[in-house]
Symmetry: C2
Subunit: 348 residues, 2 copies
C-alpha cells in the first residue's frame, strides 16, 4: 500500500534504441527508478497508478527516428519510458477534471506510476461495470478506431461486401462485428488457424482465411468475393492492399487504418495497382483516431449496450506484469497475440 | 451539300489493333465507306454530321484488349471506327429529344457521319454564342471533369495550396483557373517551356515548372510548396503521384482524374509512399465524369458567365481534317499538343 506524498520505487520499461526491421526486446529494458507520489502544487498534472497497458502496432512508428515521412506521430526518447495508451487510477490531481480515485484511460507511460502533464487524451471512465481492461481495447482507442473507421470513413451500407485484414486483432474483430450488425457480408484474414476459427465461431464473420496458407491472395479474394469488395478495412497495407485493389468493386471504399506489414521495412513495398483507384472510382482514406475523440460519447452510447447485451464480444490476450511489455510488443509484429494485446501492470 | 436519305461516302478512322506501349498511327487507318443518311424509322437513333472530335488520353485505354483491370471502360473493336467525344449537328432523329438542325455534343464516332443509337451521353447544345469546339473541351467532358474533380472531389477551400499536373491540358488549365477564382495558391507542371509560359501568363497560375527539367521532383515540390500541398489534381499518376504523396499536407486530398504516365506501360510503376495516406490522413479518390452529368446544368450556369466575362480562358490546339485524327491522338502521349486537342471534321 502506497500513499500520496511518499517516495516509492517505480518500475519502468525504457526505450533504448531502434535500428531497423522488427522491434526486438533488446530495444527496450526494464529498470526501477523512484517517484514522489505527488502532483506538484499549482500544476495541471495528474498522478496515476497504471493498471493496464495497451500494446499497439503504432508504437513501432514512435520507435523510429523522426523522418519527414512519419514525424507527425512523434518519437520515443532513448533513456525514457515508452508511452502509449493505458488504463489507470488517479492518485492525486492538479487538474480540475480529475480527482483522486478516478479511473481514467488515455496516453500514459510504461511504468508503475506516471505523472501526466498532457491530459488532452485522458478520459474519465464513467462505466466500471465492464472489465476495466476494455478501456485499452473495445472501449478505448482500438474500439474508437474500429467505430470511426467503419462508420465514418467507409460509409457502409447494409448488404455490402466487407473485407478486414488482421481481423482478429484489437480493431479488426470489432470492425467485423459492426459490419455484421449492419447486415454486411464479412470476410476476415488472419495469420493462424486458431485466429480463423475465432473469427468464424466467436465474432460471426461469414468467412475467414489464414493468409499464410493462401499463396495466391488474388485467387483467394476472388473465391471469397466473387462479386468483389465494397469496403476494405486495411490494417496491414503492402501486398495485401495491392491485391485488394484488384478486387474492389466500383465506388469501393478503403479505410487506411494501419499498415503493419510496412512498419518494419526500410523500403516500403510499392502499390502496383493504383490505376484501380481511377478505373473503379475508389475512395481511399487514411485517418487517425486522435482527431475523432469528440465522437467518444456517441460511441459509448452505441457500444456499451452491445457489450452488456452480448451482441458484441471482445477477445483479449493478457500478459501479467510490466516486465512482459517488451515481449508483448515484439510479439505483435510476429502475430503472436490472439486478440487485443494487454499488459497488466496492477489489478487495482 | 448532302440531303437526308441520300447515300454518301463516309470517311472513317478505323481501329486496326494495339499491342503495347504508346499508340502508333499504324494502330489506326483512314478509309471511306458509304452511309445512307437516314435514321431508321421507329428507332431512337440519331443521325449526325460530326463537326469536332475531342482527342482524349482515355482513348488509349479503349485500345487495349479487355482485361480484368480496365474492362469497365469498354474496348474498341478492330475494323470499326474509333469512338469518343465530339460535337455534331443532327441531320435526322428518331429520338424525341433531338431534331434536325440541333447541335449536340457527346459520344460519337471518328467518321464524317454517324448513326448514334446510344444517346444517353448526347447533350443538346443550348448556347451557340461561344465557339462550338468548346463543347469538346471547356463546355464538354473535360470542362465537367475539371469542375467535378475540383469542386466535388477535392473539397477546396480558399487559400489552400493546389498542385495540378498536365496543367496546360484540356482539364488542367481549367482546374488551375477554378482554383485561382476560389483564392487558392496554384502551381502547375507541364512538359515544355512554352506550356509553362502559358500557365503563368494566360491561365494565371502562381507558379509553373517544366517537369522534364526538374530531375529531382521532390526538391522542386518542396521549393514550390514549402508548406506542402493541400490538393493534388492528378492527371498523370506514377512517379509524380508518388512524389506528391511525400509532399502532401495533413488532411490533403487527391483527385485521381487520369494517369497518363501509366497508360502505355504493361507493368505499372509502384507507389512506394502509400504510408503517407495513413500518416497524413490523405483522401485519394478516383472519379469518372460519366456519373456526374446531372451536374451539367449547374456547371453551365457557373462556367458560361466566366467565359463571357473573360474570367476564364481556354486554349485549344486544333488540327484540320478527320485524317489528322491518328496523329493527333498519338501526339497526345508525347505531349505535342498545347492545350485541348481538337480535330475539325467539318466547320458546319
Amino acid at each position: 500500500m502506497t500513499s500520496v506524498g511518499e517516495k516509492v520505487s517505480n518500475k519502468q520499461v525504457i526505450f533504448r534504441n531502434f535500428v531497423s526491421g522488427f522491434p526486438k526486446e533488446s530495444d527496450m529494458y526494464v529498470t526501477t527508478r523512484t517517484i514522489k507520489l505527488t502532483a506538484p502544487e499549482g500544476s495541471n498534472a495528474v498522478l496515476v497508478k497504471n493498471l493496464y497497458l495497451s500494446i499497439d502496432p503504432f508504437l513501432i512508428v514512435l520507435m523510429r527516428p523522426p523522418s519527414n515521412n512519419l514525424s507527425q506521430l512523434g518519437t520515443f526518447i532513448p533513456g525514457s519510458p515508452l508511452s502509449g495508451y493505458g488504463m489507470a487510477k488517479v492518485l492525486e490531481s492538479g487538474h480540475p477534471n480529475f480527482k483522486e480515485g478516478d479511473l481514467v484511460w488515455g496516453i500514459t507511460r510504461w511504468e508503475e506510476y506516471s505523472l501526466l502533464t498532457e491530459t488532452d487524451t485522458l478520459f474519465k471512465i464513467q462505466h466500471a461495470d465492464v472489465p476495466l481492461s476494455y478501456y485499452t481495447g473495445i472501449l478505448g482507442m482500438p474500439g474508437m478506431t474500429a467505430y470511426v473507421g467503419f462508420y465514418e470513413i467507409c460509409s457502409p451500407k447494409k448488404g455490402e461486401y466487407v473485407f478486414v485484414s488482421a481481423a482478429s486483432g484489437a480493431v479488426g474483430q470489432l470492425v467485423g462485428q459492426f459490419a455484421k450488425l449492419l447486415g454486411c457480408y464479412v470476410v476476415g484474414s488472419a495469420g493462424s488457424q486458431e485466429k480463423v476459427e475465432l473469427l468464424k465461431s466467436k465474432f460471426g464473420f461469414d468467412k475467414a482465411f489464414n493468409y499464410k496458407e493462401e499463396h495466391d491472395l488474388d485467387a483467394a479474394l476472388k473465391r471469397y468475393f466473387p462479386e468483389g469488395i465494397d469496403i476494405y478495412f486495411d490494417n496491414v497495407g503492402g501486398k495485401t492492399l495491392d491485391t485488394v485493389l484488384l478486387n474492389m468493386r466500383d465506388k469501393g471504399r478503403i479505410a487506411v487504418c494501419g499498415m503493419i506489414s510496412q512498419y518494419n521495412l526500410d523500403e516500403p513495398e510499392g502499390l502496383k495497382n493504383s490505376m484501380c483507384i481511377l478505373i473503379k472510382r475508389i475512395r481511399m482514406e487514411g485517418f487517425h483516431i486522435n482527431y475523432h475523440y469528440h465522437l467518444y460519447p456517441k460511441f459509448l452510447d452505441t457500444v456499451l449496450p452491445y457489450i452488456r447485451e452480448g451482441k458484441i464480444v471482445y477477445v483479449e490476450d493478457i500478459d501479467e506484469g510490466l516486465e512482459s511489455g517488451p515481449a508483448a510488443l515484439v510479439g505483435l509484429f510476429h502475430g503472436r497475440n490472439v486478440g487485443k494485446k494487454v499488459v497488466v501492470v496492477a489489478r487495482e
